[in-house]
């Protein structure tokens, strides 16, 4: 058996896209924050759950960089988004 981890938006998060920026809000707190450009792009790409590699591929196209250049950044970005409760990892066992 192997497992696949996909990442998706938390359904709890309130958000709006304004241009290339995504604003997010926690319904159980006050305050609004704007995601950085890479985080906003990642958020928009996560309309459907994606694996880390799929997200890297998406963002390569968006930012015009190579997968090698961006892979480490995406890893850290996902960690931060998960830590903030904005993105949730889903583990599927095959």
């Amino acid at each position: 058996m192997s497992s696949i981890v996909t990442f998706g938006r938390s359904q709890r998060v309130l958000w709006r896209r304004v241009g290339t920026e995504v604003l997010v809000a926690d319904p159980d707190a006050s305050g609004i924050s704007g995601l950085s450009a890479p985080a906003s792009a990642a958020w928009m790409s996560l309309e459907r759950p994606r694996t880390r590699d799929q997200l890297v591929d998406e963002l390569v196209g968006t930012f015009g960089v190579t997968a090698d250049e961006i892979a480490g950044h995406v890893e850290r970005l996902l960690d931060q988004l998960v830590e903030r409760g904005l993105v949730v990892p889903v583990i599927a066992v095959e």
Partner: protein, 387 residues
């Protein structure tokens, strides 16, 4: 290409962006006034959508300023949704069923993107039986009612809604019916409350009117909310009317049974005219119904007679029974001291004499034979159920 000639035309075209093809070109010398109009009419979301698709070509600085304004508007919308969900949980804990009207419910259900539909306040509908408990809940969660009811029991008998505000300035209109005045009295909110749906937001399932009720609410708000229909409410009508879930037979039945033909027809006609939007055939059929005289009179109260106590007088005419009519007039003419103090504190001229002038004027006008019960004489109060 659309030929835009003035600010009003620019705003109409932007309000209908996406409903039609064609480039909307705003002359650079008008852009500042158009931007102001977009903000004051809450049309930044539609403008941004048109800008992003290329339907509204703007240079980079213009686009940046538009996005900057829209960001502020969207941050406000998110703050309102935060507060709404906190209240949603509070109402649920207390067993009070609350339906979200307009703003968030249309933004998240009938628009392709909720960012297209800004809102600046919150409208909640509760059943009359839950009215007092809902008011208490708002108070417990930091909201103060802007004006007390004129007299005890007025809300449940004649009122449409009461505005509550919190420290941040957020306003909630707590409704027990959809509109002020005769149309609000004629329709049956309990039946609307039997036809509801939900939308997902913030991990909750939030109650709203179903597609048919939502369209009716959009129509009544657009047609009766102001003397002349505003562009964003008209866009709501267009978006809601496009929903395949609308039960047109039920809408036609409600319109007929609740004497709403004039109001519905007015809103549909305004949507078609202002947005150049062709409504579905069933909407046009509903609009073609012959109006009853009582509906025509009621409609005039919301439009050309609105500023002269017209809604209050039309409300009185719609209240069944002489005793109830007398109670309504007495409550408005001789409200409680608490109500009068609250009006004075808001800087509104408030005296019993001035309030009595309104019904006295009605009677004087009628005794002069100047036009029956639907005619209106000037006076101060007279916002009908809003008191």
């Amino acid at each position: 290409m659309s030929d835009t000639g003035d600010v009003a035309t620019d705003l109409r075209l932007i309000a209908s962006a996406g409903l039609h093809d064609g480039t909307i070109r705003v002359a650079s010398e008008r852009w500042g006034r158009v931007l102001w109009g977009l903000k004051s009419n809450r049309l930044t979301g539609l403008a941004v959508a048109a800008y992003e698709t290329g339907q509204l070509p703007l240079d980079a600085p213009q686009g940046d300023v538009l996005l900057q304004h829209h960001r502020s508007v969207m941050a406000d919308a998110l703050r309102i949704e935060q507060r709404m969900l906190q209240l949603h949980d509070a109402f649920a804990t207390r067993g009070i069923r609350v339906i979200v009207l307009k703003g968030p419910s249309v933004a998240h259900t009938v628009y392709p993107d909720p960012a297209m539909r800004p809102f600046g306040d919150l409208d909640l509908l509760v059943s009359t039986t839950d009215w007092r408990a809902a008011c208490r809940t708002l108070r417990d969660y930091g909201f103060t009612r802007d004006l007390p009811e004129p007299r005890r029991g007025f809300d449940e008998r004649f009122g449409k809604a009461a505005t509550h505000s919190d420290e941040s300035g957020l306003q909630i209109d707590l409704h027990r019916t959809l509109v002020v005045g005769p149309f609000g009295l004629w329709l049956d909110p309990n039946e609307l409350l039997r036809h509801t749906d939900t939308f997902a937001l913030g991990g909750r399932s939030v109650a709203r009117l179903d597609a048919t009720g939502l369209l009716l609410n959009a129509v009544l708000h657009a047609g009766l909310g102001t003397s002349s229909p505003l562009l964003l409410p008209l866009r709501d009508v267009a978006e809601a009317a496009r929903s395949p879930e609308v039960d047109w037979d039920r809408l036609a039945a409600w319109t007929k049974r609740w004497n709403l033909s004039a109001a519905v027809g007015h809103a549909f006609a305004s949507t078609t005219r202002e947005l150049s939007f062709e409504l579905p055939m069933p909407a046009r059929e509903i609009s073609s119904v012959k109006l009853r005289p009582s509906e025509r009179r009621a409609m005039r109260a919301y439009t050309d007679r609105r500023r002269n106590g017209g809604v209050a007088l039309a409300t009185m005419a719609a209240i069944p029974g002489l005793r109830a009519k007398a109670t309504y007039v007495f409550d408005l003419a001789m409200p409680s001291r608490e109500f009068m103090h609250a009006r004075a504190a808001r800087g509104t001229h408030a005296s019993y004499v001035s309030r009595l002038r309104v019904p006295a004027g009605w009677i004087a006008r009628r005794s002069r034979g100047a036009g029956g019960g639907d005619r209106v004489v000037g006076g101060r109060g007279g916002r009908g159920g809003d008191a």
